[in-house]
């Protein structure tokens, strides 16, 4: 089970990282392709340092990886972590679909008296 590879503390970091619109946007861009921090900074009405901070939060949550190449810091989205977050949501979805199906079954049993 892939999801087991994330400890609760790691999952907390993922979810906190995803709780911010700018970070979600950075993640989307870096999942499409590698981006330098300076290229990312040009996209937002905020300081280079602020963007760098957002990238650091994403990096701690293992949602992106950062690599220094010459004077550039290159950021790349880390798909396995994103997948695991989606898998956890999917697990909850299965749980609630199961519950709804069982409620329907129960209502059928109890509701048959005329």
């Amino acid at each position: 089970m892939v999801v087991d590879q994330l400890s609760p503390a790691e999952v907390d970091r993922v979810f906190q990282a995803l709780a911010d619109a700018t970070r979600r946007d950075i993640l989307t861009r870096t999942l499409r392709g590698e981006q330098s921090v300076s290229a990312l900074a040009a996209e937002y009405a905020m300081s280079f340092a602020a963007v760098q901070k957002h990238v650091a939060v994403l990096e701690r949550a293992a949602l992106v990886t950062k690599e220094r190449r010459g004077r550039e810091q290159l950021v790349r989205g880390h798909l396995p972590t994103v997948r695991r977050a989606a898998e956890v949501l999917a697990a909850y979805e299965r749980i609630w679909r199961g519950r709804a199906a069982r409620i329907a079954g129960l209502l059928n049993e109890t509701g048959e008296a005329p």
């Binding site: 999952v11 697990a91 299965r94 079954g105 129960l106 059928n108 509701g111």
Partner: protein
């Protein structure tokens, strides 16, 4: 007939499920309000639920456990945060340790259940919010089980309808 749609929002970390039941709102409310009915559906048949405490009131506590096929108990709890019978229920659902002490970390989920009348039936909307996630191992294991038990429940439902004759 049950129509279900689900929406997961990986950004907002919410799950929304909409289900429609061919029963009046009061009857659907009862599957939440009556702990004996609740036990019949809250956990998969392979992990049956036992509610040992059920205070169905605002601020009330529920204590329950699921029992796995190997006899392992998975203790859990609710705190009920809002009740507007028979239309709305809000509760927090979390795990506990073997002694029944609530685990704050990982954080519980916050759930809102809304029931509304549609024609002769009921639409139930469930909104599940995650601040973070409860025990991944347990959740994932139960999620896997759901795949099987959901199919079983659907077959049961079909059989129940078939044996009830031509229905409506």
């Amino acid at each position: 007939m049950t129509v279900i749609s689900t929406t997961t929002d990986t950004d907002a970390l919410t799950l929304t499920l909409v289900a429609e039941f061919a029963a009046p709102v009061e009857q659907v409310w009862q599957v939440w309000a009556d702990p004996r009915l609740l036990e019949a559906w809250y956990c998969p048949p392979e992990f049956p639920a036992t509610f040992t405490t059920y205070e169905f009131e605002v601020g009330g506590t529920a204590e329950y456990h699921a029992t796995g096929p190997d006899g392992t108990r998975y203790p859990a709890w609710w705190t009920i945060t809002a009740i507007e019978a028979p239309h709305r229920l809000e509760y927090t659902d979390g795990f506990a340790d073997a002694d029944g002490h609530r685990l704050d970390d990982p954080a519980p989920t916050r759930n809102t259940v809304t029931l509304e009348t549609i024609g002769t039936g009921t639409r139930m909307t469930l909104l599940c919010r995650f601040d973070s996630l409860p025990h991944l191992k347990q959740i994932e294991a139960m999620g896997q089980e759901e795949g099987l038990s959901q199919a079983a429940a659907q077959i049961d439902g079909l059989l129940a309808r078939a044996s009830a004759g031509s229905g409506h």
